[in-house]
Amino acid sequence: MRHYQIHVTAKKGIFDPAGTTAQHALENLGYDGVRGVKIGKLIELAADDSVTADEVAQMCARLLANPVIEDFDIKEA
């Protein structure tokens, strides 16, 4: 069994309303140095050894992320 951690975040140039709101909230709390907050998703995927890395990438491109608005990063845990 292999375990993957997949991070999905808003693509560069795509507005991230949740991240921007959290950033403003941190500023309101007095944290002056915050220069960016991006909020994404962490997907933990467990798959048989027979599932290839290519297939995991396909799963991301087809369903787990929307490449129109999101980037994904796959790490084997």
């Binding site: 507005f15 309303p17 949740a18 369903l63 787990l64 929307n66």
Partner: protein
């Protein structure tokens, strides 16, 4: 032209919740309309399809992301590819973008608030075969969504604008748009509805089906559906 001859199929996914409103609006106009279950794969009995609003598959992962792989969707893609009319309302619009039948995506509203309100919308000059209303017509229709903030890259936006694919924009009650935009959800270029390059696939966030019989306080949806029906009849050649 009689009221017969344009048979609407209303696609129901688990979690759709506006299908009855759509059926009721279409029947109110004397049209034939029936439900299509998401596992159906035979669309031969229909001339036009409606993907209604709701929360298909609980909106899990992303709105429309799971519905897009329902068995019926392969046939919807084929139906659309044959030039037949397909319209997606709210969640239906999100499904159409996830299925790549329409470009771009619908992300969370800019201010993270679910918005439920009647809003003014401007009909733009477009290639959309669904809508036969003069450019500049202002309609008031309800919106009801958390993820209606349309976005796409600059290249796609330029293509949409140049190709006459922007069908509806949020506007002020007099039909104008202030320089900073006026979309209540933060939509790019105030976009509320777009169509594909061929004009037969149309997605919009507002709910015309909720503004047909006056119960909700406005009836601009009736004119909208009449126009839709007139155009759809032309498309199916009846």
């Amino acid at each position: 032209m009689g009221t017969q001859g344009c048979r609407f199929g209303v696609v129901v996914f688990p979690g759709s919740n506006c299908e009855q409103d759509v059926i009721s609006a279409l029947r109110h106009l004397g049209l034939e309309a029936s439900y299509v279950w998401h596992q159906d794969t035979d669309l031969s009995g229909y001339d036009a399809l409606v993907l209604p609003g709701g929360f298909s598959y609980g909106d899990y992962l992303r709105c429309g992301a799971v519905a897009r792989f329902s068995p019926v969707m392969e046939e919807v893609v084929r139906f659309a590819g044959a030039g037949r009319p397909v319209i997606g309302i709210c969640n239906g619009f999100q499904v159409l973008t996830e299925a790549r039948l329409l470009p771009g995506a619908l992300i969370r509203n800019r201010r993270l608030k679910f918005i439920c309100a009647p809003v003014p919308l401007r009909v733009e000059k477009s290639v959309c075969t669904w809508l036969d209303l003069p450019e500049g017509t202002v309609l008031t229709l309800p919106i009801n969504h958390n993820e209606g903030n349309y976005t796409c890259d600059d290249h796609t936006l330029a293509e949409l604008v140049e190709g006459g694919q922007v069908v509806l924009r949020y506007c002020l009650p007099d039909g104008t748009r202030p320089p900073g935009g006026c979309a209540p959800n933060g939509s790019l270029d105030d976009i509320a509805g777009i169509c594909n390059a061929a004009g037969n696939v149309f997605g919009l966030m507002p709910h015309p089906e909720r503004a047909v019989d006056g119960i909700s306080g406005c009836t601009d949806g009736a004119g909208f559906f009449s126009a839709v029906v007139a155009s759809a009849r032309e498309v199916v050649g009846r």
